[in-house]
Symmetry: C2
């Protein structure tokens, strides 16, 4: 359902060129649960942004659900992003002036889900992320870092996407909260959700079915997790 062929990403800042991805090949099957590990700066977020249609490669091919994304119109790309993908950002990217409830329901509004149904789905998504209903009318700045992270996770899963892309979704969570999130991811995966998860935490990576190791913009290794 995700296919990357010889994907390159070279950022240009003034006269400086930073090759963030240097020929990445990756195939993710429908229903797979894979994780990507690697040093800081090795290209993980860049890779996830390209898979998530938030960025275009400098070179190479990206296919999503069988379609070459460089052939998609602007409207088609927006459709894919709204209906197929759920994204947990490394910096959360919550909307500061909206309440928690309004933040989580954004993907549902994009799909025209009626109000009464939205609240039910928001409450369920927040609970699956390990969050608490008492947060719903708060603003993101009135939550702790780990609470904000769980709101971001709830937003990513509320619309029942095809593919979940999660960039270090447990970085601000204690062991117990991280465990709730990983159990939710595994439950959703067993019901068909495809998951690509970026993490620095080996215990989190071990919850996936396959670990890809990236270094300096290329995938150097692919292995089975160590089941504990």
């Amino acid at each position: 359902v995700i296919e990357l062929n010889n994907v390159w990403k070279i950022y240009k800042t003034g006269s400086i060129e930073t090759p963030a991805l240097r020929g990445v090949n990756l195939v993710v099957g429908r229903g797979d649960f894979i994780s990507i590990m690697g040093p800081s700066g090795s290209g993980k977020s860049t890779l996830l942004n390209i898979i998530g249609l938030l960025d275009k490669p400098t070179r190479g091919e990206v296919r999503l659900a069988g379609r070459d994304i460089s052939k998609l119109s602007g409207r088609e790309m927006a459709y894919y992003r709204n209906y197929y993908l759920g994204f947990v950002f490394q910096r959360f990217n919550l909307v500061g002036r909206l309440t928690v409830r309004e933040n989580i329901e954004l993907p549902l509004i994009a799909r025209g889900v009626p109000r009464s149904e939205r609240l039910r789905m928001v409450v369920k998504a927040l609970s699956m992320a390990g969050g608490d209903e008492s947060w719903l009318e708060k603003k993101p700045t009135q939550l702790s870092g780990g609470q904000q992270q769980r709101v971001a996770i709830a937003r990513a899963i509320v619309g029942n996407p095809l593919i979940l892309l999660a960039d270090e979704p447990t970085g601000n969570l204690d062991r117990a909260s991280a465990k709730v999130v990983m159990e939710t991811f595994q439950a959703l995966n067993s019901r068909g959700l495809t998951i690509v998860l970026v993490t620095h935490d080996p215990e989190v990576a071990n919850c996936s079915e396959r670990i890809y190791v990236i270094r300096d913009g290329t995938i150097i290794e692919s292995r089975e997790p160590v089941k504990s």
Copy 2:
């Protein structure tokens, strides 16, 4: 050098009251290196913000370098914050429109350090944080999450503060980068820097001399780390 006596912090959002800290007592001696662990939402960032003079307690006493901070004038508080404290924020709080170099040198400009001296100190601080000189003219948004975190760490230590307050400083770092940061913290501590570090990572907490465990706004335990 830091003393908290029966510190309470109650946030009020409309009619809702959230007790974030409920009677915290803490004594940190000069040159100590302590860490604070606890579940997400337990009050760690709130505690650090109060120690760092970024917030006032609802009740209770905070003493810094022997002075009751509620008796300090606005100018004195600003002086303390600029000269005594270095702060690594959980969300980094880098200034987006400034370059990395300009971000790191902010504490030095506040102290009137001349330009030529500033560049030398910035380069040294960034190297100690495990960063790279190639980042200096970039903007924060052109760096990866873990790179931004190391810039925030460099900014916190560049001015040779008395006390370093670090809120989950390795949350976005791989093992190797986290190790560089912790070795720098230990080196600075052995030269007299007092460190209060908030973390979810037991391996990071084990680098400190004493671990305080907080839950629901109170410190429930204080223990020696498990040396590995």
